[in-house]
């Protein structure tokens, strides 16, 4: 199984004034080796920032992020080949006009031949039950189909880690269940940022992130119980 290591990582962002930087994550050190890891916490707690560190979408202002012995800061391209990222809003992730073209974009480096690339893209879509929509514009898809397409685009490059940032938040109950089942069926390591505590409880480990710090780290059921208790405490 792949592993992710954060070593005394802090992330700051410019604040409103000239000198007042805002600290989003403070001195986080964790080593994630489990198959499924959930990140839970309130809005603005820093959990999405923590997830984005894993493939270099966010750079630490202090500390080090290592994925499979590769430093994200110096080996960013190699890390991104290993780490697939699923965004909350699939529409932002789909950058080509049609479904097949979007999957083909992911495959451009892996499959240089155009016809072979198209065939592989359609095969990937078939695996996700989207084969009949290969030439359909991504705008015409439902939210659930868009999220499945985004996930298909991520998995097309066969990453060893999938990071999903609230992938079911914008979906209805049915599509949420479909996407969740796809994610939990993955053989790859899964880092799941979620507000869905039932999903979080199904993971092997969960981190509760509060005010830029890891407030609890342990078995998912215990982490969910800790989070519920912290939310219900006035």
């Amino acid at each position: 199984m792949a592993h992710i290591e954060l070593d005394h990582v802090s992330v700051t962002a410019p604040g409103g004034g000239a000198d007042d930087d805002v600290e989003i994550l403070h001195d986080v050190s964790v080593r994630l080796t489990e198959h499924r890891v959930a990140l839970i916490g309130g809005n603005g707690s820093g959990k999405s920032t923590l997830a984005r560190l894993v493939n270099g979408l966010v750079s630490p202002s202090a500390g080090r992020v290592v994925v499979d012995d590769l430093d994200v800061a110096s080996d960013g391209a190699a890390v991104r080949r290993r780490v697939g990222f699923v965004f909350t809003n699939p529409a932002a992730q789909l950058v080509m006009p049609t479904c097949a073209e979007d999957i083909a974009l992911s495959l451009r480096k892996l499959v240089p031949d155009k016809d072979a690339r198209r065939a592989r893209a359609v095969a990937v879509l078939d695996e996700f039950g989207l084969g009949h929509l290969a030439d359909t514009t991504v705008h015409a898809l439902s939210g659930g189909q868009q999220q499945l397409l985004a996930l298909a685009g991520v998995l097309a490059i066969e990453p060893s880690i999938v990071v999903a940032d609230e992938p079911t938040t914008l979906l209805d109950l049915r599509n949420s269940a479909i996407v969740a089942e796809r994610l939990f069926a993955l053989e790859q390591q899964l880092v799941l940022v979620t507000h869905d505590l039932e999903l979080a409880a199904r993971c092997d480990r969960a981190l509760v992130v509060e005010d830029g710090r890891v407030a609890f780290d342990g078995p998912a059921a215990e982490a969910v119980a800790h989070y519920r208790a912290s939310v219900s405490t006035p």
Partner: protein, 204 residues
């Protein structure tokens, strides 16, 4: 709800226009644009527009889809036409407006009959000689396709912004339209950049 726009969207088909390789087709579009701009007179411009519409019919782009996609361009064309009538008279207005719409229709036919993947390959091939001058053909090709993909997105953002302003009774307030529109467009561009980075595109 999202609206669909033909510009930038591939419509699968088997017409000759679909079968012409992307590179020569792009060259023909460029030549057609030059000819349309060089030829003068309102009747010639109307003839060019008629020819572009014939191409659209040949590519089997549904007229309703084409008209829906042209609606924003028509609004701009009306504005330009009114200005031309005021400054240079009717013949010049007809010439300018007909030429603009003709070229937009021709570009729509090109994108509707050419898969993005083929377009990327054609642009990459065409720009390969410029690699020595520091041009990265892959990045330029990707920029082209992102631009095409952004057209319906930005138009959808404009509709959503207008609806939001209307819901608050601010549909006649330019600030309530332009400021959120600009902010949402920048946010969309940043989200697209994040998506490309996350997919490792641009790493090489």
């Amino acid at each position: 709800m999202r609206r669909t726009f033909p510009l930038g969207v591939f419509h699968p088909g088997t017409s000759l226009l679909h079968r012409i390789p992307a590179g020569p087709k792009l060259g023909l579009l460029f030549a057609y644009g030059v000819v349309a701009l060089v030829l003068r007179g309102p009747w010639t411009a109307l003839g060019t527009l008629a020819f572009s519409l014939l191409l659209a019919a040949w590519a089997r782009i549904p007229p309703r889809t084409l008209l829906r996609g042209l609606r924003p361009i028509v609004l701009i064309a009306v504005f330009i036409g009114a200005f031309q009538v005021w400054q240079r008279g009717w013949p010049a207005a007809v010439e300018v407006v007909a030429t603009i719409v003709a070229l937009v229709v021709a570009a729509t036919v090109f994108t509707a009959t050419t898969p993005i993947d083929e377009m990327l390959d054609a642009i990459t091939r065409g720009l390969r000689p410029f690699r020595r001058l520091g041009v990265n053909p892959d990045k330029v090709a990707l920029a082209f396709s992102l631009m095409l993909r952004a057209i319906p997105d930005v138009l959808a953002l404009a509709h959503e912004t207008r609806d939001a302003a209307r819901a608050r009774g601010l549909e006649r307030n330019p600030r309530a339209l332009l400021v959120p529109m600009a902010l949402r467009t920048v946010a969309h561009a940043q989200a697209t950049g994040d998506a490309l980075t996350a997919r490792g595109i641009g790493d090489d």
